[in-house]
């Protein structure tokens, strides 16, 4: 599935997510994942599953490895020469780091939206059409662009100026454009790394509404520092925390608790989660 020759994953049937990963279909299964940079662990022993059509939030203090873990999920860490991933990471039952797996194909199926909107210095249309063109699509580009922009709740705002430069859009519009660019290649999973941290509350609200709409079609994993955002949009929340070795020389992230978001924010099982989500520790 992950190789060039593999057939494209078909769009999932209608499926409303519910916070019960034990019984529902999994897109990711992580078993004892360690990520190391230059031989030093950044996260250790992460084991968790990500359910299909769920919004899964990764929360935790700075340096706990949320973004590192997120980047493992579409092999973005491959771009860092010193990075090494250990353990088993299955995507729909297949080893994401197995031999023969094409990282480019992985990133097509598992797209990413970054903290800062990063449109290309091109027109709105060309930004969205970029991915499909790279994949060799020539026919039906207009429909693809419109569908992606509609999917990102941006169509009505830009339909009359598709040839304008994307830099002329507001920050919130640029971020939705990046989401449109991501979904234009029909991925299976969307990874979001603090997608609203540079946006005002109105734009944040639009992106959050969008996430809830998009999860009907995609599975979403989001890293956020905003507790209330995790509470508002996610079905399940994973809390990671920084651990230090005895000499305080090395620090790495470890998964403390992973549960239904409602549980995490009303009655977490672990005191460390409680203190973090309550804002009592940084």
């Amino acid at each position: 599935m992950l190789t060039e020759q593999a057939p494209k994953i078909s769009v999932r049937p209608e499926f409303r997510s519910s916070p019960s990963p034990e019984t529902k279909e999994k897109v990711f299964e992580m078993k004892g994942i360690d990520v190391l940079y230059s031989g030093v662990a950044a996260v250790k022993d992460i084991s968790m599953d990500v359910g299909r059509n769920d919004v899964t939030a990764l929360i935790g203090p700075s340096g706990c490895g949320k973004s590192t873990l997120l980047r493992c999920l579409n092999r973005m860490n491959d771009l860092i020469p010193t990075a090494e991933v250990r353990g088993e990471l299955l995507y729909r039952g297949e080893d994401l780091y197995g031999p023969g797996v094409d990282p480019v194909q992985v990133r097509k199926l598992i797209g990413m939206v970054f903290q800062k909107p990063n449109p290309f210095p091109k027109s709105i249309y060309d930004n969205v059409a970029f991915g499909p063109r790279i994949l060799g699509r020539k026919q039906g580009l207009d429909e693809t662009v419109e569908k992606a922009l509609r999917g990102a709740a941006l169509w009505d705002e830009v339909k009359d100026r598709l040839e304008d430069n994307a830099f002329g859009l507001s920050g919130g519009q640029q971020q939705r454009l990046c989401i449109a660019r991501c979904i234009a290649v029909e991925p299976d999973v969307i990874l979001m790394d603090e997608p609203c941290s540079a946006l005002d509350p109105i734009s944040t609200g639009k992106i959050e509404d969008l996430m809830i709409e998009l999860k009907d079609e995609f599975s979403i994993v989001i890293v956020t520092h905003n507790m209330q955002q995790a509470a508002r949009v996610s079905d399940r929340t994973a809390f990671l925390m920084v651990e230090l070795d005895a000499e305080d020389h090395n620090r790495w992230g470890r998964l403390v608790e992973y549960d239904a978001t409602e549980k995490i924010f009303t009655n977490p099982a672990d005191k460390r989660t409680e203190d973090y989500v309550s804002g009592k520790v940084g």
Binding site: M227, Q228, T266, P268, S278, G279, K280
Partner: protein
Amino acid sequence: MPEGVRVFYQEELERLEASALGGLDMVSTALVRTMEAVESQDVELAQVVVADDDRIDGRYLEVHQSLITLLATQSPVATDLRLISALLHVLKSIERMGDQCVNVCKVIPLTGNHAPADPEMVDLILRMGNHTKALIAQAKRAFEQRDVEMARDLVRRDDAVDELNRECFRLALEIGEDADRREWAMTMLLGARAIERIGDNAVDIGEQVAFVVTGLFREFEDASHPS
């Protein structure tokens, strides 16, 4: 003094809990005065209790508003969220308890200064009052100490109040043929019923203790399906 971050928020939450639970002391005072008014048929003292209920209502409104402000501005979650939710319920129970004292005190003038009181029934009502005062104190202690067992024990103690209420009812049925005495007994039954409800409110507070501690809300006893 809370340590760590969000110190103001934690201090404010502690202050509001103390202020809400302080409402139980106000109710306890109102209940003691109510019992005194019942015992001595003291219409003036009963009027003081009625007038003083404004203080309990004021406490309810003040703490309620402050809790809503904390919800709006501090986005509490987990135990803090459960605590605030529980305090909102507790405040409502306190306000109702104060109203029940008022209900008792309002019927005292109806019986007049020289009511044909039945000493046995008055004694029963005073015992109900004493039991209920102890229930209020125990509910407060259970909340302060987050003691679920102590909270559950409120049910057992409330059963004693319920039994005394039933005895009041039996006495009222057997009060005799004298119309004035029967009217007095019926009026006092209303008072007994009000005190019995205060006991129920104390048990409600106990249920909120269990919610704060466990995260699960369950009625200790289901009135529609008694065990």
